[in-house]
Point group: C2
Chain length 407, copies 2
């Protein structure tokens, strides 16, 4: 029997009408004879609302309680979706992350799935039920509720698909897959029907929002094919799966991100300062995206260190800045006016031609560069935030438009 | 060390400001050296809002999913309260009903606490933490989330107090205890400083809202004294505890209830019809408050049967009426225009003087009687709903005002 794991994001279950339409889609899959497990996110802005309440109580809410709080969002969705399905005559049951056997480590707010014990899910499916699982949440070995970080419902879906040895993992959102650039920014953005795991991972890490980077990594490890589709506009999709390395080459997408902060540390004893700053960021679970150390002095100190951190979904970033400033004194500065623009594709750093050509393009448009990083799949350029949209369009026009569709 | 269980109702935690004030009260108790476990309800109208969503999806939502849905309300409160306490520098931890060891039977929406295994609560308290427990919820032997019915947070508090062998169980709400009548209805209502368990149980069963009837029954069995207090107006309280039977006599309170429906069944085969109706009500977990069978015919049938059910907190009462009508055909009728008025006190049915005097009083005011029931602690009279407030005032004036304060 075909086994499908479907995941529906927050905008797909934003209200009861959408929930009913989702229920109809699930019923259709079930009637075609498939075993269906469904992973759901919190409805619409529920998580933001809960985060807002927590932040009113203090700048850095205790993480364990944050997980207790936020995990309720998915539970509301899953109970209501189960009701909707049962109202249509289907047998259904909702399971919490804990009941579904999503076992994580103890790292609250950003827990890693360490094991999935899907026995109850399998039992309920064998009894003919649609199983609805609360995404984004698990249970730690201490029997506390954990959450997997923003976008964690994707990871729940992929982990469950792997544990169930499912035939497909379908991730539904309000877009019909992955594009060569954000269509809201670039009219000529191309729909990408197929992507390799590492390219998708780099895209997600660089700011593309369709799929969660951890989930893609998990899918790669478990060799689960992900189908990214639109909930209410059936048709196109993007499949993320194992592809031969030569299948796709060149720049496949141009991705940007807004919510980053560059932290610069200067002055004497910078190495120690750097270490203290990184420890604090680690403690506050802030993702450090890029590190830059330069000018090693003879006494082992550095005259300058910098790193780029994601300020997205960091609870109480302002408070954290104050803590960093207090920790390091005058030697710390924060740049909020920069944004990274990333070109994504296989083997982009194999020669420097893509990098130098891009730098020239941006230069011709008078867009200044504040930094560059490259990996096998990505070239990222830090530019002024106010020029980022223009930068994306320039790069997309030059690297993607007018070229034959890749593959 | 003194061990206190405190319970805060929905109106005491309706918003974040109130939550912070509650946190200060808890901190004060903790600083005085007590071990404190706190049971919380859902914030303000949260439960009503969740019930509303469920009912939009269908007239009788599946009970298991209803419990999954509703239990989120208390979890939001407890996580936020724990954050507030930690923000004040107190060590605190929130525990779900399941984590707190509240084990129930499998009767979803109206589960009975069958055992409390408070090991984790005790461990956390021993580590110096304030333990915050989600009220109203437990876990069944099937490892599913259950709820204890409306007002179930009181039961959680009493059950936990019993399991912890606590010195006190304090139930905080927006009123400072129990009155001889609803003060909103009767200006002269008297504050009652002390009540016996059975009198309090009858008051709750007859419509008084301060304490849950099941919780009082539980407290009686476990001999836990309950202190009913106002969250934000310290001062008076009502203590419910074991009292010598002779301590208080006469009518202590006049209580009324609005949301009842009288169901009448007539015609042939009434006994069978009655049985089918009661089974359906049982299945839908509707509380049957009173039963009345009359005129046993020679063939064993009845010409008439009636019962009074609570239509309060019944999800989809209108739908249930339609089901009953379909089940029984034309022989069923529903009266929505009646309400019970109850006199509460020890030994009220020892002689008939209280009953006959009350019937005369109501007759003098032209308030017609549709039925009478008596127990050791209660005389209930069914009167037209539009006359109920007047009836309460008449009875209160005659039986309570002008008499010396009882005890």
């Amino acid at each position: 029997m075909t086994c499908i794991v479907q995941k529906y994001g927050g905008s797909s279950v934003a209200d009861l009408d959408k929930l009913k339409r989702i229920a109809e889609r699930i019923a259709a899959a079930k009637r075609q004879g498939a075993e269906v497990a469904v992973v759901v996110s919190a409805m619409g802005k529920t998580t933001d609302r809960l985060v807002g309440m927590a932040r009113e109580l203090g700048p850095s809410p205790p993480r364990r309680e944050m997980d207790m709080l936020l995990s309720t969002g998915e539970r509301i969705t899953m109970a209501l979706l189960s009701m909707a399905l049962q109202g249509m005559g289907l047998d259904a049951v909702s399971l919490t992350g804990s009941q579904a056997g999503i076992i994580t480590n103890d790292r609250h707010n950003d827990a890693q799935v360490i094991e999935v014990r899907p026995f109850r899910v399998q039992d309920e499916m064998a009894a003919g039920r649609v199983v609805i699982v609360g995404g984004f949440q698990g249970v730690s070995y201490k029997r506390d509720i954990t959450t997997l970080g923003r976008g964690g419902s994707d990871t729940t879906a992929v982990a469950l698909a792997a544990a169930l040895d499912a035939d497909r993992c379908e991730i539904y959102s309000d877009v019909d897959g992955v594009y060569s650039a954000d269509p809201a920014l670039v009219d000529e953005a191309r729909h990408l029907p197929e992507l390799s795991y590492p390219v998708m991972q780099e895209m997600s890490a660089a700011g593309a929002k369709v799929l969660n980077a951890h989930a893609v990594q998990f899918a790669k490890e478990k060799q689960i094919a992900i189908y990214a589709r639109a909930s209410f506009a059936p048709g196109r999709e993007t499949v993320v799966r194992r592809l031969p390395p030569e299948a796709i080459t060149g720049v496949q997408a141009v991705v940007s991100e807004q919510q980053i902060t560059r932290v610069r540390i200067s002055g004497k004893r910078t190495l120690e300062s750097f270490d203290r700053a990184v420890r604090l960021l680690e403690e506050r679970q802030v993702q450090v995206k890029e590190v830059n150390l330069s000018h090693v002095a003879e006494d082992g100190g550095l005259s300058r260190a910098g790193f780029v951190v994601s300020s997205r979904n960091v609870y109480g970033w302002k408070h954290l800045e104050a803590e960093l400033a207090e920790l390091l004194g005058e030697g710390i500065a924060f740049d909020h006016d920069l944004a990274p623009l990333s070109l994504i594709g296989e083997g982009l750093n194999r020669n420097n031609q893509v990098l130098t050509a891009t730098m020239n393009m941006l230069g011709e448009h008078g867009i200044p560069l504040a930094g560059v990083t490259t990996t096998s799949f990505r070239i990222s350029l830090l530019v002024p935030r106010e020029r980022i949209e223009e930068g994306v369009r320039v790069c997309h026009r030059n690297w993607i438009e007018g070229r034959p569709l890749l593959q």
